[in-house]
Amino acid sequence: MKTSRYIVLALMVIGALLLVACGGGATQEPAATEPAAEPTAVPAEPTPEPVVEEPTAEPVVEEPTAEPEMQTITIWHGWDGAYFTAIEEVFKAYEEMHGVHIELVRQDNLSDAMAVAVPAGEGPDILAWVQDQVGRNALVGNIVPITEWVDEAYLNENFEPAAANAMVWQGDVWGVPEAQEGIALVYNKAVVTEDMIPTDPTDMAGLLAAAQAFREANPDKYFLCNQGIGATSQDAYHVAPVYFSFGGDSEVGYVDDQGNVYLNTPERLEAANWLVEFSAVAPAETSHEICNAGLMDGTYGIWWTGPWAIAGLTEGGVDFGIAAFGRPFVGVKLLMMGANAVDRGNEAAVVDIMKYFGSAEVQAKLALVNGTVPANTAALNSPEVQAVYSSAAFGAALTNGIAMPNTPFIDAQWGPVGAATAAIVSGAQTPDQALADAQAAAEETVAGMK
């Protein structure tokens, strides 16, 4: 008698736990295949929340037809710290002008988050990313083309050629460009003077000679820190200006739109031999943190890096200069339209926001605050922006740059180039061996994609 009461009691406890654990959602059949009669994107009831919170906290998909509330446009982005602050203000101004609400959400793992959220109808209206993501996301269907509203003529008219080209893939326009990014020589004026850096931005031999002379004069210091050049670095992006600055097939980068690989060419071999000589007078191991710390405490004279490093250096009180050098990989940041924007009927608002954000006024304003390099031609050439030191200096570096391709084949290059560079610098392989292996590995990856 007594024990059966315990059984009932325990059953109740466990039943309650099960309810907590599975909530109301477990009743939905995950593998149901019959067409749903009613929309299933939104959980029918708010799920029970054990801790008291406002009911508005639950994510709710905006119903575009039930219009009395304000239209909400969600932007997923990777904008950071101080840079983001200025962007937030720009969108705030738009909200006030047009009476829409813009929700800015920063994402870490954009591709995984998209894979889960877009089919659920919880994806963003606008996706702010870099152009190398265009191809892959267009194939999956995470983003939709905006050719209907923004044509190539509009892009060519308003934006720098590299940025305009980066928006087009398979004959369609997939986004509106924001800013361009690439790397240049950022030097600590207390350690290195401008005249030590060769004036011709493709004078790689001159750069090597300068590094050797500097090392000889300062045995406890290094001339240049590049986080892509080190025995433990596998970073095809930061080492790109070295590979691209010896002429030849440089125009196409490492891999082109058709999946052809250009790693084992005479020019690349020349670059690899340069790496061998250079690494003798460079820090053996490098990384973002090491270069940053070394530049700040004066151990390293130059850091081959991009605009993102500037905020930290300013905060750390370093007196630095920026010199264009080599042919960097140019990334173009852009806004793309998420597939869910179409389901929500938000296309028009999305395109308007994209155009607003790419406009000369907005981009000039952002450049003034953030020191970015606007993709908008008028903004880039405006006297105010040219007066911003880092915008002008990085802008000069990008004019020599190679645009990153926007095809998915681009994924085939990073691993092999990074590994080959590490093997060259650490001495694990000779340059020709390393490049031949990299060529083979990249071609194999491309073949796997086709």
Partner: protein, 421 residues
């Protein structure tokens, strides 16, 4: 058992106790595993990301009905819940591969060819004397007075060495390495697990034994301090440790150089001539992250050992070593084995920490696995081309191997047995 319940009521009781676990574990785990198995038979990749939910014809040829049936159930984007927002991209439909095991064959290379199976056989024969001795001693340890025959190990070692030479096991090993990256990566991963787990256990046991000694002052303080690494996010900790092991700038080398031990310390993480240095580094880092867990588990387990048993042993004149090996270790076994087995699995599947610290390096060159490229890092590198079919096959292979190894270790340790048997 001695409980008064029989039949129906007993089973009701058991059901009551275990149903919640079964439900929550299987609901969320079985489907992802099934999905992976399904994906491992498809040719899905970046250019073929779409699920053919409606069985549409591709190049005038519709997939068989059973394939569509399968796709509709396995592929989440085909589920009714997601129908409304189904995305349609520029990509092609994926389908099942031409030959069923295509992705599996791609992953294993020639590991299962006759030649490499022979080599594996030779390898097993080479170590068989050691296994035999181990088995015999294990059987004997159940006797009331086990004979002292540690010298058997020496004999086995000698026989093993002899076999090694006669059968030319070295050559077999080389042949196996030539079967492809998979074997090399697997071998190094096993080595990593074999280096990590005993170290975790020894460090955890040492600290737990000291912290369990009631004559140590401020045990609460020591316990709380030593647990700290468990509470810190591994992401940033891994990068801090990476810096400690830097050759030129790192703390360890600078410290050693300041003490005058080295002129210039080793390049721990990037020396292709001495790759074991990077191996040591990732073992030490993993130790830092995991020893608190072992300490806590062992400390908890020590509580179930009664002091009386030690006191009785002391009366018999037992040394501390006797007490450790005859009382502590055997009694710890059931409570510590789960931690050992499960952290062997997690170490085998280690990705984040090693990736952040070495990225698989020291690098030998493009297309070859780096020296610390363990299975999950290898997987990551392989799937930069987003080949989901091969990714699935890889996951299934790892799963089957790990599971067999675990089953084998369970048979040996008998931890699935209940307390009443």
């Amino acid at each position: 058992m001695g409980v008064s319940y029989r039949g129906f009521r007993k089973y009701l009781l058991i059901l009551l106790f275990i149903t919640p676990t079964i439900l929550s574990v299987s609901a969320l785990s079985v489907y992802p595993i099934a999905y992976n198995v399904y994906a491992s038979f498809t040719n899905r990749n970046t250019f073929r990301p779409r699920a053919n939910c409606e069985g549409e014809a591709v190049q005038g040829e519709a997939p068989p009905a059973w394939q569509t049936w399968l796709t509709q159930r396995m592929e989440p984007t085909c589920w009714a819940t997601f129908a409304e927002n189904r995305v349609v991209g520029r990509g092609q439909f994926y389908r099942l591969t031409e030959s069923l095991g295509e992705n599996y064959a791609d992953m294993t290379g020639s590991l299962f060819s006759r030649e490499s199976l022979t080599s594996t056989g030779l390898l097993l024969v080479g170590v068989s004397p050691l296994l035999a001795v181990w088995y015999v001693r294990r059987r004997q340890s159940k006797l009331l007075s086990p004979p002292r025959n540690g010298w058997l190990w020496l004999v086995a070692l000698a026989v093993s060495y002899g076999l090694w030479q006669v059968l030319d096991v070295q050559a077999a090993l080389t042949r196996l390495q030539e079967t492809g990256d998979f074997f090399i990566v697997l071998f190094r991963t096993i080595l990593y697990v074999a280096a990590c787990i005993p170290l975790f256990f020894v460090v955890g046991l040492t600290l737990a034994l000291i912290l369990n000694n009631e004559h140590i002052k401020g045990r609460g303080f020591w316990r709380a301090i030593l647990i700290i690494p468990w509470a810190v996010q591994s992401y940033i900790a891994a990068l801090v440790w990476q810096f400690f092991f830097r050759g030129e700038q790192g703390t360890i080398n600078q410290f050693l150089e300041a003490l005058g031990l080295f002129e210039q310390g080793p390049t721990w993480l990037g020396d292709p001539e001495r790759p074991y240095l990077a191996f040591v580094a990732v073992v030490v880092i993993n130790l830092w992250m995991t020893y608190p867990f072992f300490t806590v588990v062992i400390l908890g387990a020590l509580q179930s050992i009664s002091q009386d048993q030690y006191e009785a042993a002391e009366v018999d004149g037992a040394t501390w070593w006797d007490k450790l090996t005859q009382i502590t270790l055997p009694l710890l076994r059931p409570a510590v084995l789960p931690a050992v087995v499960l952290s062997s699995i997690t170490t085998f599947q280690m990705f984040n920490t090693v990736w952040l610290v070495t990225q698989g390096g020291p690098i030998k060159g493009a297309g070859q696995p780096g020296f610390t490229e363990f299975v999950m890092l290898h997987a990551y590198r392989l799937f930069q081309d987003q080949n989901f079919g091969r990714m699935g096959a890889f996951a299934v292979i790892i799963f089957v191997m790990l599971f067999l190894a675990t089953l084998f270790s369970l048979r040996l340790t008998r931890i699935t047995k209940g307390a009443y048997e």
